[in-house]
């Protein structure tokens, strides 16, 4: 048998929980060769993250346990190596980009320090490491890289953090890069740049890449082979093109069929009196203007998609509308009342109407509460919504709606996968039956089948209950399917606003045009053709 760069054989992982053993990964085998890209596709919670964590010795054992298998790298079984040897491989030979960038960055150290450490930990001199860090941060497209190195993780936007993680992982030019959803928070232009960067490195160093993603476009763009996972098992594996063309397993078929961006574009609602009028919102951090005068109208039951460059102030806008941050100027009239000037008591009364799904699901769930407690807290705060006797049933119902199981109610957040957590957060927002939900990348960590399901649910709620949405997303196909209006942001400003049709079919701004052009098609052949085109243009 030829030796692969990295090979996982028969890997099984279980977790211990109060209720019993969870078999998260079962007899998984795959391999990746030098210069090759393997994509792992699969349902949220199917064991993608756990199986790759095993490679880097990151599973907490206990409660986790690797019950079978081997991981061959460089002719050795990693699972049999000592701690020191694995440490030497980690970061230098095999590097990882984590799914959840905020919690995976140490909050009390500057990002520059954290990137440099990757290199100094493997014996590089500090001076060289610093120069390299600057280069890396520049390459992943962080604005003002020198200053960025001195900032702390919480001062970056979601997409920026993700890029910092990428920079950190690439620091040692590893032989194998494991990227767990590396582009979920990136807008498509940046996503394209990052993917290009990965490819370039791959060409330079012959790096093998294992990319976990649910974005078929990304798969089409860079993967040579795919494996598809479902419930801890590999259900399908093969050449990217073949799998797309002729999927064998029903799950794979469903996945491909669920790819968004194919439906009809909704017709905009008739103009009515807006529920929310936002005008000239300004927010600065120090001298940096995160929002430089943003304004828009939102009608009842309308979905406004906010797309735009990573770091353009989308999350900031959401936080400010909910008064989690104080704006420096501007107004936001909710049914005629200015949210920014409401006294605390009235604000509390309004809270119920405005809900939010945060970009970072892990951090937004209290780690000490069970899923049941997390969701039912809504009713504990607003008892008028639901009598206590019905809580349990309603939690089960909500969980089912977002594609989780009722028995998950007694688990704690850390026992879920990234996508599962995001769904818990959505269920929580729905529990309050609000009038407006701000979704900050609420579906970006979901595999397309679940994503479709959630979008369908949201659409239904919107129809039936007239819930309005501010839908922050970078995934243009989803936006196309779900939104009425689109607002494009760049550098703290609204650069374009219009109906979905206007924006998608006749974008005016160059940035919007670039955004649309950078979108990836799930079909590998289409993508290959575009790639060829790009190369031709450059040449």
């Amino acid at each position: 048998m030829p030796d692969h760069l990295l090979e996982v054989r028969n890997l099984s992982v279980e977790f211990h929980t109060a209720a019993g053993v969870v078999k998260a990964v079962r007899n998984v085998s795959w391999h990746v060769d030098r210069g090759e890209t393997l994509a792992i596709l699969g349902e949220s919670g199917s064991g993608k993250s756990v199986s790759t964590a095993a490679i880097l010795d990151l599973i907490d054992m206990p409660p986790g346990r690797i019950t079978s298998g081997e991981i061959r790298f460089d002719g050795r079984d990693l699972l049999r190596l000592g701690a020191a040897e694995r440490r030497d491989i980690n970061g230098r030979r095999i590097a990882m980009i984590f799914q959840d960038p905020l919690s995976h960055l140490n909050p009390v150290y500057t990002v520059g320090w954290q990137i440099v450490e990757t290199m100094t930990a493997h014996g590089q001199s500090r001076a060289r490491a610093q120069a390299e860090a600057l280069r890396l941060v520049t390459r992943v497209g962080i604005p003002d890289p020198a200053a960025a190195l001195r900032k702390y993780p919480h001062e970056f936007s979601g997409g920026q953090r993700q890029r910092l993680m990428i920079a950190m992982a690439l620091a040692m030019k590893p032989d194998v890069l494991i990227a767990d959803e590396p582009t979920t928070a990136l807008d498509v232009t940046v996503q394209a740049e990052v993917l290009a960067l990965l490819k370039e490195l791959q060409r330079e160093t012959g790096m093998g890449v294992v990319i976990i993603t649910h974005d078929l476009g990304v798969v089409a763009e860079i993967a040579d082979r795919v494996v598809v996972m479902n419930s801890g098992e590999i259900v399908e594996a093969g050449n990217t093109r073949e799998v797309y063309r002729s999927p064998q397993h029903p799950y794979t078929r469903k996945l491909i069929g669920a790819a968004p961006g194919k439906g009809d574009m909704p017709e905009p609602l008739p103009r009515a009196e807006p529920v929310l009028k936002v005008r000239d919102v300004v927010k600065t951090y120090g001298t940096f203007a995160a929002l430089a005068g943003v304004g828009f109208d939102l009608m009842p039951g309308e979905t406004l998609a906010v797309v735009g460059e990573s770091g353009s102030g989308k999350s900031t806008l959401a936080r400010i509308l909910l008064r989690l941050d104080e704006p420096d100027a501007g107004e936001a009239l909710w049914k005629g009342r200015d949210l920014f000037r409401l006294p605390p008591a009235e604000l509390f009364a309004l809270r119920r109407d405005l809900q939010m799904v945060f970009q970072d699901p892990t951090q937004s769930l209290n780690p000490r509460m069970t899923v049941f407690q997390l969701i039912s807290e809504a009713w504990a705060i607003h008892p008028e919504i639901l009598p206590k006797a019905r809580w349990r049933a309603r939690v089960a119902e909500l969980l089912a709606q977002v594609g989780l199981k009722p028995e998950h109610a007694s688990r704690y957040p850390h026992q879920f996968s990234g996508g599962q957590r995001q769904r818990i957060a959505i269920a929580r927002a729905l529990a309050l039956e609000p009038e407006l939900i701000i979704c900050d990348e609420a579906v970006s960590a979901l595999d397309v089948s679940v994503q479709a399901q959630v979008i369908e649910l949201l659409t239904k709620l919107r129809r039936e209950m007239g819930i309005a949405f501010i839908f922050i997303a970078h995934d243009l196909p989803v936006v196309r399917d779900f939104a009425d209006h689109v607002m494009v942001m760049q550098k703290g400003r609204v650069v374009e606003y219009g109906t979905v049709r206007q924006v998608f079919e006749a974008p005016r701004e160059p940035y919007t045009q670039a955004l649309l052009a950078a979108g990836l098609d799930p079909d590998p052949e289409v993508q290959a053709a575009r790639r060829a085109e790009r190369v031709a243009i450059r040449a």
Partner: protein, 310 residues
């Protein structure tokens, strides 16, 4: 609604056992904590029935048998720890003293922890100005010598058990206050707190349901160790004439009395000292156990152990 995506056996969960059973199982898994709990129950039992049972014997003086050394079994089982400088059996005295000791220690620790934590939560979560004011108050308490406070209380209010508790509680407030506030400052910035605010949770709810549980384990560590501190400090106050007066006894007082004989009759202060150490040790083992048992991300440590032991 279309069909929910199949969640397969891989992630399916059997029903969990009920909470009390789970805790008992976790307790069983940590034998140290179990022993600690049993010891504490014993101390409480001593405190409840000790004075009624042995109060008489513990006061019976016998100058001929003064400073009788321990482990002379022919004197009778009550004397196995030896006798104090008035010939009273130490064993009986330790049992009888448990009540006063526990009253004072638990009273002072609970009062200071309660007040300190409450103020700390307010200082950390309320407006800047209120927080500042509370912190500066803490500074004042922190730099007010406890002995002076004791003398003042003694003069104004006179000696009593309540006043000992009062003095000790006041002096211990700042630790809890400052620790709580420091933690709150950090925790309030966490995203799940923002999430709760978005849901419209009142400040009280946020503080009590979301912030307090995170701070609590640290406070418990401090509080359990404060037990020892308070038990020893209480004897220093008795020295001033505030609080417990002979012939009433506490472990702290027994230690203080034995101190003069330390080089000749070590057992006089050794046994009550040991009682204090064991009590603190038990409280701490229990609070360490609780820290793990109450933290869902750590709980597996106990649950797993229970399993492998079984």
């Amino acid at each position: 609604m279309s069909t929910a995506p199949a969640m397969t056996d891989g992630t399916a969960l059997p029903n969990e056992p009920s909470a009390p059973r789970r805790f008992l199982r976790m307790l069983w898994a940590d034998k140290f904590a179990l022993a600690a709990l049993l010891f504490l129950l014993l101390v409480v039992l001593m405190a409840v029935i000790g004075p009624a049972l042995l109060g008489e014997v513990a006061q019976k003086q016998n100058l001929r048998g003064r400073n009788a050394p321990p482990f002379e079994w022919d004197r009778g089982w009550l004397w196995w720890m030896g006798a104090d400088s008035l010939g009273r059996p130490l064993f009986a005295r330790i049992i009888v003293a448990a009540r006063n000791t526990m009253t004072v220690a638990a009273g002072a620790v609970l009062a200071s922890a309660l007040i300190g934590t409450t103020l700390g939560l307010i200082a950390g979560y309320a407006s800047r100005r209120v927080g500042e004011a509370i912190m500066r108050l803490a500074d004042v308490i922190m730099s007010f010598p406890s002995l002076l406070l004791a003398v003042i209380v003694l003069y104004i209010l006179g000696p009593s058990v309540t006043n000992v508790i009062l003095v000790l509680a006041i002096t211990r407030i700042p630790v809890y206050l400052r620790t709580t506030r420091a933690e709150v400052l950090e925790i309030r910035e966490r995203m799940f707190v923002s999430a709760a605010r978005v849901m419209g949770a009142s400040s009280r709810r946020i503080v009590l349901r979301h912030i307090l549980p995170v701070v609590l384990p640290t406070l418990m560590t401090i509080a359990t160790l404060d037990f020892a501190y308070v038990m020893l400090a209480e004897s220093a106050l008795s020295f001033l004439g505030i609080g417990i007066q002979p012939p009433e006894i506490t472990w702290g007082l027994m230690i203080a009395q034995g101190k003069e004989h330390l080089t000749r009759a070590w057992w006089l202060s050794f046994w009550p000292g040991l009682a204090i150490i064991l009590t603190t040790l038990s409280l701490n083992l229990l609070s360490n156990w609780m820290r793990i048992a109450l933290d869902p991300t750590q709980r597996w440590r106990l649950e797993m152990r229970g399993r492998t032991d079984a």
